[in-house]
Amino acid sequence: MLEVRALKKEFQALSGQPVVAIEHFSFRVEAGQFVSIVGPSGCGKSTLLLCIAGLSRPTAGEVLLHGREVTGPPEGLILLFQEYNKSLMAWRTVFRNARFGLENRSGMSRGQIDAEAQRFIELVGLGGFESHYPWELSGGMQQRVAIARALARRPEVLLMDEPFGSLDALTRIDLEDTLLRLWASLHATILFVTHDIEEAVYLSDRVYVLSRRPSRVIEQIEIKIERPRNQLTTREDPRFIQTRHRIFELISTELTRS
């Protein structure tokens, strides 16, 4: 349903020199899949997501959603950022943040919007915090608000840019499981960018491993570990360990490549 073909993105660096962030980049995501992208830091993962979300125009190549080229932010696709503290509206309470994405939906009454917002606040486990402001909450809770706001919109595709990157390990584990539960129950399609190899393997059906800049896909790995996954047993599964090993080797070879 989502396809990226021969994408290329070039920047003008401050020195005036063109920098190629992404080149010959192709991959696809099927409906209902959980797909992760891992790669060395600074390899242009965020740039890639901005292009897919229609927020940045690729220099060459194309992004197709349901076979139609993405030229601006498409309907049915939401990008969720790592910087929850910047992406949430500090002047809106948790409840009003959650309903933000529904307010410009045609054909929804005020009552329906409120009910949906409330439902998603509860789904991400923030019941009781509706009237708090984001800055009154911990980082993990703030990212939950952002997830509720994104999912309440019922996107077919959710793009996530290192959403748990700045959270502590325990909060992260908790949010990974919340996300998997929601993904399964909402039948969403998720494209998840991370630099955490274990996180990618734990969450995904498929992992794309990226090269250094200019980044492209160097390997596509299918994760055939059954669901629902479990933080202990899944991570101890020999297939999990093998896959992690394989991806780690790919990335470290990539990092040491001169």
């Binding site: 932010p73 950022f81 002047w91 994405g101 410009n104």
Partner: protein, 257 residues
Amino acid sequence: MERIPWKGLAVLGALLVLWDLLSRLSSLIGNYLPPATVVFVTLAAIVGNGELLHHAAASLLRFAEGYALAAAISVGAGLCLGLWRPLYTMFEPVIELLRPMPSPATIPIAILFLGIGDEMKVAVTAYACSWPILLNTIDGVRSIDPVLMNTAATFRLGPWERFWKVTLPAASPQVVTGLRVSLALALILVTTSEMVVSNDGLGFYILDLQRSFRIPEMYAAIVALAIIGYTLNRLFLTLDSRIMAWHKGLTRKEEIL
């Protein structure tokens, strides 16, 4: 509720007592500075006979008109300049040239164009107040984080929705900062322009009292001006903490961290 700042009030009280004693004990000081008690009694007298209120009302009307005019024009212009980079680039040299010029310098020009009436004073006040509001609004709009604008875009907000629901609230703390700085400026310019040419208003009144050697009345009017300035600022802060409660909480949190 706020706690009463006892220590601050004690210092203020001590200074008033010192003032009172000094002007009573030294005839040299007393000639030019009547005792505090005398000034406050005089203040009550000029409030009682309506003289002060007449002038204060004239000043406050000019203040309100000039301030409101500046707010309306500068918030609007600041939003446009902040949102549209080429426009800002075009106007930047003009802004940078006019901004550092002390605003009272515009009084003679305003007299030439508008005469010596209220229009002149309102215009000069509006001019002075415009700069902090304009510059803070521009800065407020331009410093909105791209992540926030990208969030608005991914939720497919139209230009108007984006403006009302994201740009304006995100820039509002800076706009309010500009408005607060201008509040003090407005009072300064109203008073100054009234001192230059007028037949009513506190600026005129204070200068007129000095010229007619009504020294206790002059001090009383100055004290009244201080009280008015203080009250306006308090009013502003009260309104600010109601409307911008979210921002107060946010900045308090950032201070702790």
